[in-house]
Amino acid sequence: MIDKNSTTLLSIKNLHASINTTEILNGINLTVKSGEIHAIMGLNGSGKSTLAKVLAGHSAYEVTAGTIEFEGKDLLALPPEERARAGLFLGFQYPIEIPGVANTQFLRLAYNTIQAQRGKDELDPLEFDDFVREKMKLLDMKPDFLDRSVNEGFSGGEKKRNEILQMALLEPKLSILDETDSGLDIDALKIVANGVNQIAHKDNAIILVTHYQRLLDHIVPDFVHVMQAGRIVMTGDKKLAMELETRGYDWINADQRLATGVNA
C-alpha cells in the first residue's frame, strides 16, 4: 500500500555490479518505502536475480559504483549476516539443501540469532516448537517438515513454502522474494501468496522478483518495474504487469527506442 508519509526503507542509487568483470547491473535506481509491494519483472539475464543477491550481500558480485541505503545506513558496508540481522530477507530461487541438519534446528538457530540481535528473548526447543507450528499454519505445512533435513528431498513447492516460513519467523523489514513462483503449481502458488499477504503489513515491504504476472494475480503490487540489461527501463502499476503478460517484453524495446530515439 502506498502511503506518502511512510518511511523510506531502501534507497538504491546508480547501482553498478559485476561478476568476474562482466557488468550485470548497469545503473539501478529504486526507492522502497514501508508498506509497499514492488514487483521487478524482466527476461532471463536482465539482472533481476543479481539485484536480489547483491542486496543480500553475495560475495561473488562486486559493486563497482552506486550506493544502497537501508533505513539510512550504508548496506554495502555490512556482511550478509548483518544485513539479515538489520531486517533484510532474501527468499531464494533455489533454496539450499542441507542434509543432516533438521529443519527445526536450522529455523530455531536463525530465529534465535535474529532475536538476540533485537534484544529479545531466545526460545528453547519446546517454546520454539509451539511458535513455529503456529506460523506453519499460515502456509498449510505438515508438522513433519520440522523433523526433515533442511530442504532435503523437498518438492519445489515445499522448498518455497519453507522460504516463506523463514520470512514469517524472522519478521524482516524488507523481503526480496526471488522467483518464489517458479516451480509452483497453482495450488501451491495460492498457498504461498496467501502466506506472503498475511505477513505483509504497513511497516514492512516486499520486492517480488518474477518472470510472470501470475504471482501478481495473488499478491497485488503497488509498483511494477521492468528490468532490461541491468537497468530499470520502465515503472508502472499492476496494469503494466498485465500488459507485459499480453504483449510480451518486445514492445518495451520498441517503446524504448521510440522514446529515446536510440537505434538498437
Partner: protein
C-alpha cells in the same frame, strides 16, 4: 628416561629391555603368549613409508619417544573422571594408564554377563580366554600387535553368554593420566550364540600430555550374535595412538562399528573384519575429525570368506589446519564368497587450503557372482550453502560449523547412546570455532 634412540631397531631393543625387566606376572597361563609375542617383536622392524601399508603415514617421530611402560601410580577420584562417564551407562570398566581401577569401575549386573579385568577372571574363565585371546589379532605380521601382546597385563574382558541380551551399553574407559609413558590397553569380547551387546571403547586423557597408547581389541561373534561397537579416540593432541582391532563373525552374526577419531598427534587404526560365517553382515561407519598438525590414518579390511555376506562401509574425514587424514579401505572377496554384497563410500571434507587427505579404496575380488560398489569424494564447504545460512543471520563461523556438523551427522546419528551422541555433536559443532 633420557635414552636417545636414533633408529627403529634401537627403539625396539629399548622396549625389549623394558619387557625383560618386568617380573613374570601372575598371568601364568598367558606367559607363553607373551613370550612368543616378544620373540616375534625380535624378528620384526618398525614400518616406514616404504611399506605399502604405511606409505602415507610417517611414524618415525615415534622412534624418538622412549617412553617406558606405564606404572600404576594414579590416584584418580571419581570427580576426576566424571566428565568422561556417560549418562545411563552403568556398566563401566575404567583403566587408568592401562591399570584396572575397580574403584572407578561399575558392573551393573554380574549375573548375566562376565565383565571385568582379565587378570581377575583368568582363573574362572581360563579356557574361554585361552581359546580366544590372540586368536584374531595375530602378532606375527604386526609389530604393534606384537608389542601389545608382549606387554599384556590388565585387559577388559567381556563374555556374553548364549541367548543373553545386555541392554545397557558397556563403557570401556581407557584414561591416560601420566606423561611420557607407553600403555598397552587390551580388550577381548566374546559374544555367545544369539547374544547381543553394545560396547563403547573410549580413549581419553586427563591432560594434554605426550604419551603412547598401543591398543588391541579382539571381538568374536558366535552364530546369530549381534555386537554394536562404538569406538571413540579422543586422546591428547600430543599423544601417539596405535590401534588394532580384529573382529571375527560366525554364521548369521551382525557386527556394527562406529569409529570416531578426534585426538592424538599421530594415530593409526587398523580394523580387520573377517566374515567367516555365511549370512553374516557388518556395517562400518567411520568419522575422522582433525585439525592443527594432526595425522590420522584409518586402515580397514573387510574379508568376505564365506558366501551370502553383506558389508556396508562409509568413512568420512573432516580435516582442518595442516592436518592429514588417511583412509585405506580394503574389501576382499574370496573365491567361494559368492553372493557377496558390499559397498564402500569414502567422503572427505577439507576445511582449509593446507589440509590434506589420502583416500584409497582397495578391492580384491576373486568371486564372480558378487555386488561390490565403492566411491570416494573430496570437497570443501560450498560457498552457496554458507551464503544461504549467512542470509538467515548466521555468522560465517556458525554457518561453517553447521555445515561441518551436517557432513558428520549421518555417522554421529548412528550412535545409539544419546549422551555420547550429544557430546560428539558439540565437539563437531565447535570444530571450526577459530575461523
Amino acid at each position: 628416561m633420557s635414552n636417545s634412540v636414533t633408529n627403529s631397531n634401537d627403539y625396539l631393543q629399548y622396549l625389549l629391555k623394558s619387557w625383560s625387566a618386568k617380573s613374570a606376572s601372575e598371568l601364568t597361563g598367558l606367559n607363553q603368549l607373551r613370550a612368543s609375542a616378544i620373540d616375534s617383536v625380535g624378528t620384526q622392524r618398525l614400518p616406514n613409508k616404504h611399506d605399502e601399508e604405511w606409505r602415507f603415514t610417517d611414524i618415525s617421530p615415534l622412534t624418538r619417544l622412549t617412553y617406558p611402560p606405564s606404572q600404576q601410580q594414579s590416584r584418580l577420584q571419581f570427580s576426576d573422571i566424571d566428565k568422561f562417564c556417560l549418562q545411563n551407562t552403568t556398566n563401566r570398566l575404567v583403566f587408568v594408564d592401562n591399570h584396572y581401577s575397580p574403584d572407578l569401575s561399575n558392573v551393573a549386573d554380574s549375573q548375566i554377563q562376565i565383565l571385568g579385568n582379565l587378570h581377575s577372571l583368568m582363573s574362572s574363565h581360563a579356557s574361554t580366554i585361552e581359546s580366544h585371546l590372540g586368536h584374531y589379532a595375530k602378532f606375527d605380521h604386526d609389530i604393534f600387535t606384537a608389542l601389545n601382546t608382549a606387554f599384556l597385563h590388565d585387559s577388559a574382558l567381556i563374555i556374553v553368554p548364549a541367548k543373553t541380551c545386555i541392554t545397557e551399553p558397556i563403557h570401556l574407559l581407557f584414561i591416560a593420566s601420566q606423561q611420557e609413558v607407553s600403555s598397552y590397553p587390551r580388550s577381548l569380547v566374546v559374544s555367545g550364540p544369539d547374544s547381543k551387546v553394545t560396547l563403547i571403547e573410549d580413549y581419553v586423557s586427563i591432560n594434554q600430555s605426550s604419551y603412547i597408547t598401543n591398543t588391541v581389541t579382539e571381538i568374536r561373534l558366535a552364530a546369530h550374535a549381534q555386537v554394536e561397537h562404538i569406538r571413540v579416540q579422543r586422546d591428547s593432541k600430543q599423544a601417539h595412538h596405535l590401534a588394532n582391532c580384529a573382529v571375527s563373525l560366525a554364521d548369521s552374526s551382525q557386527y556394527q562399528s562406529i569409529c570416531v577419531s578426534l585426538g592424538a598427534r599421530i594415530s593409526r587404526y587398523n580394523l580387520e573384519v573377517q566374515l567367516t560365517g555365511e549370512n553374516s553382515n557388518c556395517t562400518i561407519d567411520g568419522l575422522t575429525l582433525i585439525s592443527g598438525q594432526q595425522l590420522s590414518d584409518t586402515h580397514t579390511s573387510i574379508d568376505h570368506v564365506k558366501p551370502n555376506c553383506t558389508s556396508r562401509q562409509q568413512h568420512k574425514c573432516i580435516v582442518d589446519g595442516t592436518a592429514h587424514a588417511v583412509f585405506n579401505g580394503k574389501i576382499k572377496v574370496r573365491p567361494q564368497a559368492q553372493q557377496t554384497n558390499s559397498s564402500q563410500s569414502s567422503r572427505n571434507l577439507l576445511l582449509s587450503n593446507t589440509a590434506k587427505v589420502d583416500t584409497k579404496p582397495q578391492l580384491e575380488i576373486f568371486a564372480d557372482d558378487v555386488k561390490c560398489a565403492h566411491g570416494a569424494t573430496v570437497g570443501q564447504l560450498d560457498s552457496e550453502e554458507i551464503f544461504y545460512l549467512e542470509s538467515r543471520g548466521l555468522s560465517k563461523t556458525t554457518a561453517r560449523n553447521l555445515l561441518t556438523y551436517a557432513f558428520a551427522a549421518d555417522v554421529i546419528n548412528r550412535i545409539p547412546v544419546a549422551s555420547l551422541k550429544q557430546q560428539l555433536e558439540q565437539i563437531v559443532l565447535n570444530q571450526t570455532q577459530g575461523i
